[in-house]
């Protein structure tokens, strides 16, 4: 029998005992739904985790430092793996060279320094860091109150929540560690901070900042190469960050951020600069460390290798992602197994329904054989019925699984909202899963139809027709 005829007959037969077949199909769809629900939860969690990690900037960043860094100066000299001839100065030329590497989206100098900021004429000592405009997508700024910098040169600052508390004279109450950032922001936004900093000025350089006040000049200990001038700059507070964007930096993490280009233009003296004195001979700026952002975390190793070959030290958190992927592979496997169990139970329902159908349709099978149906025809017909139930159940099941996911998503977001956390979309049903689930349901149903179809095909027509 041809496929369209077969399908038509199968669907007609399914319609004939509608209640029983729909119940069986519902059974399959519940199985498929649980499979889809389990797998999409696993996939969703995985995507959420990697999205979070990507946004955190931890996994797509390579920190590049010069090998001549004083901290490991001695070690470098003694390591045969990195002969001193290979080490290079991390200057502007090197920065541009790294930026030209494939899959590197940007390379920016790390500018961070401890300083004093005046707010309402009261001094506050803290660590300040410069951020590129691309940091706007950083996870820590997701629940930012106010705005991110309006431009790379704007005289603006974003302060971290803990520093905001300090500015307002609030101390975190013991036991209540969550202060709502929404309460902190309004009194601070638009206010001015005065930042004191030390400008590094070449000996023959001229005054370059109009609104900075020369508060005196000191000779640097290294001699006449440059002088350090104490200056002040006014910054407008535009944003208050809820989370800590620099949690990975530990004790050197900053609590006040300013735009990168602005910080560069100020020629701020950094603690690490002293080590570079001997190399400051060239006109180009020299950096103690730069951060390279990678387009795809999967490429991080090749990029690290390339940078190392150029003669620099690199650092990235790579292995963490590896073990995370491993964890999710195992999680998906287990969720899949549980989902498949539900489908297996449902497929027993198919076997049952079809065996019942054979008993009920003995006579019909006998008639079909008497008028010329071959064993193959009868077998195919029962297969088609099983397959049709499988496909229908698969489609309904995917829809059901998706709906369950939406409900759980919505439910969790209500919960997150109550906890004053941002909503999350952690339930994802990818298109391939839709196709795979329907196909899987179809194949499982065919397998379930194997025994009933064979039994129907071998039915003795004379016996079947004898029963009146």
């Amino acid at each position: 029998m041809k496929l369209p005829d077969l399908t038509e007959l199968a669907l007609r037969n399914l319609r004939e005992s509608l209640l029983r077949n729909s119940l069986t199909t519902v059974g399959i769809s519940v199985g498929v739904a649980s499979l889809v629900a389990m797998l999409s939860l696993g996939i969703g969690l995985q995507q959420l985790a990697s999205r979070r990690l990507m946004k955190s900037g931890l996994f797509d960043t390579v920190v590049v430092t010069s090998r001549r860094d004083l901290r490991n100066f001695g070690r470098d000299e003694n390591t045969p793996a990195s002969p001193p001839g290979e080490s290079r100065i991390l200057d502007e030329a090197a920065r541009q060279e790294i930026e030209r590497l494939p899959n590197v989206s940007e390379v920016y100098p790390d500018i961070r320094f401890p300083t004093t900021l005046l707010f309402d004429d009261k001094p506050h000592l803290t660590m300040v860091a410069a951020l590129p405009m691309s940091a706007k997508s950083n996870d820590a700024f997701e629940s930012l109150q106010g705005q991110f910098f309006s431009s790379d040169m704007a005289h603006e600052a974003v302060v971290q929540k803990a520093f905001a508390e300090e500015l307002l004279g609030r101390t975190a109450k013991p036991g209540v560690d969550e202060t709502n950032v929404k309460e902190l922001a309004p009194p601070l936004l638009g206010k001015e901070l005065t930042m004191r900093y030390a400008e590094r000025e070449n000996a023959n350089g001229e005054e370059n900042s109009a609104n900075s006040i020369a508060a005196g000049a000191e000779q640097s200990p290294a001699g006449a190469a440059y002088s350090v001038v104490s200056r002040e700059v006014k910054l407008k507070i535009v944003g208050v960050a809820d989370l800590d964007p620099e949690s990975m930096r530990g004790p050197t993490r900053a609590r006040v951020f300013l735009p990168l280009r602005l910080a560069e233009s100020l020629h701020i003296m950094q603690p690490t600069d002293l080590r570079e004195i001997s190399r400051a001979a060239s006109e180009q700026p020299v950096y103690s460390s730069v951060s390279a952002r990678v387009k795809n975390p999967a490429q991080i190793r090749t990029i690290e290798d390339a940078i190392k070959k150029m003669g620099f030290n690199t650092f990235s958190i790579l292995d963490a992602t590896r073990s995370l992927q491993q964890f999710f592979a195992v999680l998906d496997l287990f969720l899949g197994i549980f989902g498949s169990l539900a489908l297996a139970v449902a497929s027993i329902g198919i076997v049952n329904t079809l065996v019942m159908a054979i008993l009920e349709r003995r006579r019909e099978i006998g008639i079909m054989k008497a008028i010329g149906a071959s064993e193959r025809d009868v077998e195919k017909l029962f297969f088609a019925e099983a397959g049709a139930m499988g496909i229908l159940g698969g489609i309904v099941g995917v829809a059901l699984g998706w709906a369950i996911g939406q409900v759980i998503n919505a439910g969790t977001n209500v919960y997150l909202k109550r906890q004053a956390l941002p909503p999350e979309h952690f339930w994802t049903v990818p298109l391939w899963l839709v196709g795979a689930a329907i196909l899987f349901s179809f194949l499982v149903s065919l397998a379930a139809g194997l025994y009933p179809a064979g039994r129907a095909a071998r039915l003795d027509p004379v016996q079947a027709l004898r029963y009146e």
Partner: protein
């Protein structure tokens, strides 16, 4: 030219060699300790275009013989040769094809599939024969017109009278143009008037298409009105036969006519 000669010689052969030939046909059933000899050494020959009746009391083995000829059942021993083909030599797939194309069956209880309309029932054998849909529809319509059911083709069997159902069953049996029609008490569930109506139709097919017909029946009177030969069975054995003189003369003419008809068809 050559083709035509071949066809003629084939139909000549079918006229001379028997359409159905059974030799020492046996079908035993083992029921616990006892062996039931439902069919016990039947040797029977039915020529092409002949219309015969199998008569006998209940349990004499008439239906069993018919099922063996139809290839629905396999004999314990002995052979069945239909249209020159030994059924024992055929594979299960080939037996199915044989049932599909060579024989048509009609039953006492009509055996239409209740979930299908009359038209769908009639075209079902063509689905198994993989005839395309358009052709199937027109052939089913044509067959239902022969039996006068064109107006009822979209009804389900349960909405039809017994006679109408049996007419539909006849149309289904004939839809693939079989050479042999096997009818197991086709009028058993019908009143005598409707029974005669069905018998007239069977006779028409026998005479106009030269179709070989074997009919099982209880009603001797009805058989004598239509068939050319009556075969009597008891306890699985043949116990005698009678040539029906009333229809024998007509049948010779009909047989010749039938050969012509067959030649025209092929």
């Amino acid at each position: 030219m050559q083709n035509q000669t071949a066809t003629i010689s084939a139909s000549l052969q079918s006229a001379t060699t028997p359409a159905i030939l059974t030799e020492n046909l046996c079908r035993y059933y083992q029921m616990g300790q006892t062996l039931i000899r439902a069919v016990d050494g039947i040797s029977l020959s039915v020529s092409g275009g002949e219309f015969v009746a199998l008569l006998g009391s209940s349990g004499s083995g008439k239906s069993s013989v018919l099922n063996l000829i139809a290839g629905l059942d396999r004999p314990t021993s002995g052979s069945v040769v239909v249209q020159g083909r030994d059924l024992a030599q055929l594979s299960r797939e080939e037996i199915a094809k044989y049932r599909l194309r060579t024989v048509g069956m009609v039953f006492q209880s009509f055996n239409l599939i209740p979930s299908m309309t009359i038209a769908e029932n009639v075209e079902l054998p063509m689905r198994f024969a993989e005839v395309e849909r358009g052709k199937r529809d027109s052939l089913a319509r044509e067959a239902l017109t022969w039996v006068g059911l064109q107006a009822r083709m979209n009804h389900r069997p349960s909405e039809l009278s017994g006679g109408e159902q049996q007419r539909a069953a006849l149309a289904r049996a004939l839809i693939n143009r079989p050479q042999v029609l096997l009818a197991d008490e086709p009028t058993g569930n019908l009143d005598s008037h409707t029974g005669i109506e069905i018998m007239n139709m069977v006779r028409d097919f026998n005479q106009q298409l030269g179709m070989t017909v074997v009919m099982v029946t209880h009603e001797r009177a009805l058989a004598e009105r239509y068939v050319q030969r009556l075969i009597f069975m008891a306890d699985g054995k043949l116990i005698g036969e009678e040539i029906n003189s009333a229809t024998a003369a007509a049948s010779v003419a009909a047989m010749n006519e039938g050969c012509d008809a067959q030649r025209r068809m092929s």
